[in-house]
Symmetry: C2
Subunit: 336 residues, 2 copies
């Protein structure tokens, strides 16, 4: 049974285990600094499909299949899927898992979806409602550009604070038994909106939310600030990462030496021309299911705090002059 340790944080004493994981990404992600950590790199941005949306669904579908394969389980062994994505009405997730015949909870947390799905999935396993769940999400550069900004064919110029949506999917199988990285703490984000209205600068919009959740995590758990080998935000990018560190320092939390951002890690900013770095639901999902799980299981790290970050705006809300509400969901994963 879970124990509430603060207003936003619960501790999972039953230690749900991440039993299997997978990330399948696009060509650009494969060429990035973390390329070798991903299960597959797909060169064709259409993934053999007729549209970017269908390609994104296929990334999710294939990643889901790979998770089951790596976990040595079949669809019938999974009690729930927790999934979502950035597309309007979350069609990548719905179409991606359509054939699985598994009870499905659809989520929308923008780029925080991996943190959200892992939080809910772990809570449901911890409480005995499920033996195994899959938490998964996806994004695609071309479907996201088309929906949020301009079709890629338009060739619009990108501002320096813009980020590059990660193409791919990442997910994990959380189960009630076994050894391996366990979910120990969950700090659920509340919406933080500091009035940023520039949809081309989401790092600035999300950094205060990341800071808020990380601060709450340490305040409520009482853990020392150096408890984790890696604290990693979802997709703040270079600009947002600096801002987050500054805000944390103002709160007395000095984590510079073991803090990074998935959006900064996944691309080589200069060589790959990705401006401020990666973003998208798949950003923190692929870094979790690729790099972080690899480091944990090889004992090169023992504890990681994943802080997926999301900007909860839409093109319509921006056009109507609204600022960008942001949220960050933190999950503490430890080798026990």
């Amino acid at each position: 049974m879970g124990t509430r340790v603060g207003k936003q944080t619960v501790r999972l004493d039953g230690h749900p285990v991440i039993q299997a994981w997978s990330a399948i990404v696009g060509a650009k992600e494969g060429q990035g600094p973390l390329g070798r950590y991903f299960d597959e790199v797909i060169q064709d941005e259409y993934y053999g499909e007729k549209s970017f949306e269908k390609a994104e669904s296929k990334f999710l579908r294939e990643t889901f299949a790979k998770i089951l394969m790596k976990g040595n389980v079949s669809a019938g062994d999974i009690q729930y899927i927790f999934a979502g994505d950035l597309l309007n009405q979350c069609i990548s997730a719905s179409f991606g898992i359509r054939e699985t015949e598994i009870p499905f909870f659809g989520l929308y947390g923008a780029c925080s979806t991996m943190g959200e799905s892992l939080s809910l999935g772990s809570m449901v396993v911890e409480s005995g409602f499920a033996e195994r769940v899959v938490c998964i999400t996806s994004s695609h550069f071309c479907s996201a550009e088309k929906q949020f900004r301009f079709p890629v064919e338009f060739g619009s110029q990108r501002v320096p604070t813009a980020q590059w949506t990660v193409t791919g999917a990442g997910g994990v199988l959380v189960g009630s038994t076994g050894n391996g990285p366990a979910v120990v703490h969950i700090t659920t984000g509340k919406i933080v909106d500091m009035g940023i209205t520039d949809a081309n600068d989401m790092g600035s919009a999300m950094a205060p939310a990341a800071c808020d959740t990380i601060t709450a995590h340490f305040r409520e758990t009482g853990l020392p600030h150096n408890h984790y080998d890696l604290i990693v935000t979802g997709d703040l990018g270079n600009h947002g990462k600096k801002m987050c560190l500054k805000l944390l320092e103002e709160n007395g939390i000095l984590i510079r030496d073991f803090y990074d951002d998935c959006g900064v890690m996944i691309f080589d900013e200069k060589r790959q021309n990705t401006n401020c770095g990666g973003s998208g639901c798949a950003c923190s999902a692929a870094v979790l299911a690729g790099y972080i799980m690899d480091k944990l299981t090889k004992k090169e790290m023992n504890r990681a705090l994943l802080v997926s970050t999301g900007a909860l705006h839409s093109p319509t809300s921006i056009q109507q002059g609204e600022s960008i509400p942001a949220i960050a969901h933190a999950v503490g994963i430890e080798m026990l």
Copy 2:
């Protein structure tokens, strides 16, 4: 602790209680057969705001405030909000609860969102992760028409199978203590897609999903088919309701005498010119938080099975020739 009774169903032995509820709706809903069950009827479709999207957010925000007021609790007493809506990137929910400072799980289940949020919220209360959560959703005729079909100003003709999106919001406060209607069973839907591609006939797309979930509910719980005083689907409308009954009869489930559909109940089809009936996230949410809670607490009903139904397509998926994946989430509510 919850007990799994089948592949899709769990039983909540701790009986989380629906401690408070509220529904605020628009003028047309107020004029409908259930008008007197809603807390407030707002005549202005803009609700004093400058856009339909902002109006929808306000419906959700005001309904949330009313739930707290009726439950005699403050925002600080709520551990989680589970909310979502139909708008792209679920902005109605995000903007509606932006100021609450409560940990937030964003959901997307299309019109099944009330069933989904009530399921997850009840599971989290049952498992001791929270003492109180709010499960809430909204929809708005004008914002939905604009996004999914045509702006209302266009005056497009509606086909006979079309449904009328409910304007309003509905939600409940689920808590771990107290007397009142309790959540006893949760049967979580899996995606069912029978190949329907007509976005103007969502009743036909969703009826098989409703039938699938109701059939699983009775098969897995072993409850007699007349266990509930009311089994109510979310928004199948007249056409989908008939289809659902027929499909259930083929499965040997004869519930005609105590089965209805929120979309059929909320409008007077002929007098109000709503074609096949109501739809939208707020449809089953408002009928639950209005009519059903009233009947249960007055002991005019003792047991109700809410089966919120959702069509998980998007305008993009329809344009790309995809069929409509549908889902239905069932929650058994009983006076104990």
